[in-house]
Symmetry: D3
Subunit: 139 residues, 6 copies
Amino acid sequence: MSTPQRVSVFRKEHFNAAHRLNNPNWSDEKNERVYGKCNNYNYHGHNYDLIVQVTGDIDPETGYVMDMKVLSDLIKTEVLDPFDHKNLNLDTEEFKDLNPSAENIAIVIHHKLRNKLNPALDLKIRLYETERNFVEFPG
Amino acid sequence: MSTPQRVSVFRKEHFNAAHRLNNPNWSDEKNERVYGKCNNYNYHGHNYDLIVQVTGDIDPETGYVMDMKVLSDLIKTEVLDPFDHKNLNLDTEEFKDLNPSAENIAIVIHHKLRNKLNPALDLKIRLYETERNFVEFPG
Amino acid sequence: MSTPQRVSVFRKEHFNAAHRLNNPNWSDEKNERVYGKCNNYNYHGHNYDLIVQVTGDIDPETGYVMDMKVLSDLIKTEVLDPFDHKNLNLDTEEFKDLNPSAENIAIVIHHKLRNKLNPALDLKIRLYETERNFVEFPG
Amino acid sequence: MSTPQRVSVFRKEHFNAAHRLNNPNWSDEKNERVYGKCNNYNYHGHNYDLIVQVTGDIDPETGYVMDMKVLSDLIKTEVLDPFDHKNLNLDTEEFKDLNPSAENIAIVIHHKLRNKLNPALDLKIRLYETERNFVEFPG
Amino acid sequence: MSTPQRVSVFRKEHFNAAHRLNNPNWSDEKNERVYGKCNNYNYHGHNYDLIVQVTGDIDPETGYVMDMKVLSDLIKTEVLDPFDHKNLNLDTEEFKDLNPSAENIAIVIHHKLRNKLNPALDLKIRLYETERNFVEFPG
Amino acid sequence: MSTPQRVSVFRKEHFNAAHRLNNPNWSDEKNERVYGKCNNYNYHGHNYDLIVQVTGDIDPETGYVMDMKVLSDLIKTEVLDPFDHKNLNLDTEEFKDLNPSAENIAIVIHHKLRNKLNPALDLKIRLYETERNFVEFPG
């Protein structure tokens, strides 16, 4: 174990939000045909489970890839504070003109965390919209 | 096993909905103080997990307390069709004038199912708003 | 804490088995109408999750209601050894003439464990046929 | 819904702790025979999952039995702050002379919360030592 | 976000089936020695949890890699309809001459879905035979 | 399916242990600043969930990548017997001079299993310290 070992660490967090899938360039009929119940005019919502995966060399002094308290605080500032108990379409800048599909939410979260993380660390985002529908974005 | 045996059967379903906690008789300040983030003006949302418990005598011919397919269909008609992918405050009659707290949602679901179930069967409702916050209403 | 305190202890175990729901007094048509896919002639199967609840006074010397190792061994002898990786209809005495519905399996398990437990202890059985269909028998 | 409705609300929290089961009045041989691996001299540990159930009338003004934020804060002060990331035998007053079995931990938590809760509310404690071994104390 | 972003979407489904592991070219003794309880003559069964992972470019118009309703319907037609509540050895063509090990079931499911999916999409199959035994086939 | 197919098989096990994070080359103040509650002098503990992933060609005769009973027995001998219900810092050789962070525990488990596995098989370790903090080491 003399050379640094590359390990992934994962932190799971969650937030609750309302959203609606809608493409303003389409007719109401097309929006309903494509998005079905997810197009409901008055929004619906989810308990989003978020798993942030950070990969890097293990620091031999601490035994850590990254302090999980620091990672948890970063997720709180960048993701939970702006998104938790919010309406993604109406209360956030990021989804004013971007459909808040699980795919797009994962990409937005990746961009927000990527900007604050040490570039030597790899970052992957997994987002559960429900227990049965989830997405992963490796950046 | 000659006398009927009293057994509980449980069926788990889920629905996704937006909601907002707000008391129109209070000031905005009091609503925010009491409900905190749950008072967000533009709604937030949850994946609600619902467990319906029905207790009754086991039918010796079928080995069933109640056909779970019948129970599942009943939950679909009474709960999932009106509540899933909806805004509870805006899209439902039941919560037009009733705060959609987890407690009140459980009571409303109990009333809706109670009306359709055989009176010889007992009914209890458990509702998970999140994995860590849930309620139970025994009727 | 001078008088004995009544506490419930729970042990979760699981077993995998094949079964088929069928009433030999009915026509094939009625069996299919009542049991649907569960009537499949060649059997289907489940991972059954079993939760055994034992309620009694806490022993002040050990701090235990009952040694969980003893309870686990009892469940192994009485339930897992005869039922795990078996066909309930063909390989067991208990379901030769009794429909292996979740309700009936829970009752059979209760009878088998009840006979071996100290009468001062209460016993309740919860059995998950799937994550979404489960039953409870309080004896 | 004119008369108050009795509803249970549940809050799930967790803490991580080391413990050892040992009765100082017994010989080493008896301690090892009774407690097995749980008697390990240098302690072992668990992620304890705690579910606090509070039952009471629903407040028609708030739609709450009890504000879950208040309940969560109370559990933090009374249970998590003194027990989380601690050695129950060495770092706490409650288990200096009391075996930290799951049964006894549940009773101690019940006493601590009971003293701080409105007497009109019923309280029940469920404590998971592992996913497969758990206890419940109804007070 | 001007170039397409490669994202994975996952859909979780489940089915219940009976099966038996047996190699007809071996003696009964060798079959029992290799497969143990899984060789039980009258079959046993499982609740199989299936996670289908589809990876592709995100469609900027819909915000989707693939409509999860379409994916769910495809899994229903190709996997759940032929396998759910069936005996894999007796009721299916695929396992007439192929051992229904978790590995082989995952490969068969991959082949069935691969034939129906857009070739631009990558496909990976994860199959849980129990919570503690599972397999993954990346194609 | 004439050429061998590369499939991953996973086995989930768990063990309970006490540990403490501490760097003997640092002052008490630095240890507490870096490790926080995890530096508690008298140890704390966890229910560790371990997922061992083995990847290899499927054996056409058995339908197995590897007999899960053999893998489970290997994990028992190499990991559960030395670590379960132990104090990692005091009761094991491996962590006498190595901080038992989740990252380091995963690496140690990987080394122990790697030495006993067929070199044609790939090995990856995932270790959950809690449901929300986990690590993965691909070797």
